[in-house]
Symmetry: C2
Subunit: 311 residues, 2 copies
């Protein structure tokens, strides 16, 4: 089903998220052809693999686009190398380890005249665009975010999450913030944060956040990795004109208690559709807002000791 004019794409970092999401989405997208991978731990059956991205870029000038889904610690150098080689770049979330490095990549992409797409996959969940449209005419008064999942089930072996810069529970929590900043018409700012950090880890296992927005809007968020039941990825928004509830990470939407029927292309298929659209338009899409809110939480937040975590 690949089109004759499909863009040759390389995938960098063939881990869990690549196999679970990126490879099926690329296979289903007629606009992209998986031309190569870069991975030190083995690539994909039947696809050319290079241990290093630099070697791939040198060997394959025909690869016009690169999708990066390795852990964020290594993403900046890879993105920079690809942009310098004038390839279009798509970044998994979070787009980097720091705000400044993502801004630098955005500036570099603009200077090189190529597309940079800093993705927030949760913004492509089926309920998010309808939620944004519904809230456009109904001012939000109060938002409650509950983002609770069992880290042992959802992040097995991801030790980098617990290292400084690895975000801890903000790794999933930033998905909630990416939805929040997409559905509200105005910005929010963090006013208080409690970060619960296991005494043997460098990043939080849970947090409580408070944000404020325009006209008395208040937002409370609870992120928790210690939850052992089925995950809860819920956002409730009270407005003067009714209640909105996003559940299942944005895939389900209720308006005043009534479940909505939603079109659902899938988050990652919609990401690649959007990447193709940006490339065709010669545009970039780099929204730093979710990462800024996380950086602000680390800047402003109180750190409270929590029980040691052992996987």
């Amino acid at each position: 089903m690949t089109r004759a004019d499909a863009i040759d794409l390389a995938l960098v970092g063939v881990g869990k998220i690549a196999r679970d999401q990126h490879l099926p989405a690329i296979a289903a997208d007629a606009g992209f052809r998986l031309a190569a991978t870069a991975s030190r731990s083995g690539g994909v059956e039947g696809v050319e693999n290079h241990a290093e991205l630099d070697a791939l870029l040198a060997a394959r000038p025909d690869v016009a686009a690169v999708s990066l889904c390795q852990p964020p610690q290594a993403r900046y150098e890879a993105a920079r190398a690809a942009l310098l080689a004038r390839r279009h770049v798509m970044l998994e979330k979070p787009p980097g380890q720091t705000v400044a490095e993502v801004q630098a990549l955005a500036d570099l992409a603009a200077a090189q005249g190529v597309t940079l797409f800093a993705t927030w996959h949760s913004r492509h969940a089926a309920g998010v665009a309808p939620a944004r449209d519904w809230l456009a005419s109904r001012p939000a008064r109060r938002v409650r975010i509950t983002w609770q999942e069992d880290v042992r089930e959802w992040h097995p072996g991801q030790t980098w999450i617990w290292q400084a810069g690895g975000l801890g529970v903000f790794d999933p929590g930033i998905n909630a913030l990416s939805i929040l900043t997409a559905i509200l018409p105005g910005p929010v700012r963090l006013t208080a944060a409690d970060l619960h950090v296991p005494t043997n880890c460098e990043t939080p296992i849970a947090c409580d956040l408070v944000f404020a927005g325009a006209e008395g809007l208040s937002v409370e968020a609870r992120f928790d990795f210690r939850w052992e039941g089925p995950p809860r990825w819920d956002i409730e928004v009270e407005t003067d004109a009714g209640l909105l509830r996003l559940a299942k990470g944005g895939a389900a939407l209720e308006l005043d208690g009534a479940p909505q029927r939603l079109e659902d292309p899938g988050e990652y298929p919609d990401l690649y559709r959007r990447f193709g659209e940006l490339i065709a338009a010669g545009a970039s899409d780099v929204d730093l807002a979710p990462l800024v809110l996380v950086a602000d939480a680390f800047l402003l937040g109180r750190r409270l000791p929590a029980e040691p975590f052992h996987e």
Copy 2:
């Protein structure tokens, strides 16, 4: 020496920095007239004082500009109130507690059509502009920043520095980062940070930072509040074409070992001159870069326990 067309200005927060720097600078600037103060702990002899800024704004519609130098925890609400009342606003550094709140203020100022000036006083030290000009044609290879001062001497009684959001040693250290980002032609990004946090405090008493910039530029910074001698506020820049050394917080400049003769209007007089210039031009000046680098240090940095601090 005040001009007939001088702008009536209110000063908010009459503490150490106001008395040491702002009041003398305002008194010496013919373009501003100190019309009122807002302070709960008493104002300035012979000048109308209000306990609350809201009361001042209501009572004095003639006050066209407001300079905020209370601790950063209270600055956002005050700035927002002043901007909503269509007054020009000057912010002491740091301009806020979070990146998002300063961005929100910049957006509000633009919407209101008034000036917002987020000041970085160290950028107005006498050596900074000549350093920037000298480095414009001499690519920097290596930068060493040493910012060491005795917190008991320079921040007596400033307990807010040790509370979450109070920045700790980044309160002076952000001055160094404001100079760094002013004298280099390109951006830098943080790549590693060690934050030394006293076991009885929430913010660092010392830190070691590493940054990278364009073309192999590396920057190392050491901030330390535990230094007991005369302060060291030094920045050394190695280039292919010689060595630049800023000392005394930017007030002294050496090029290849030769001390430079500098014009020195003083940091705060130059800040108010610039504020007047921005108001006249209908422009704002809000550079988030130094605060972003600090937020990135909290986001990416390792926290290491340090000896308890007792003032």
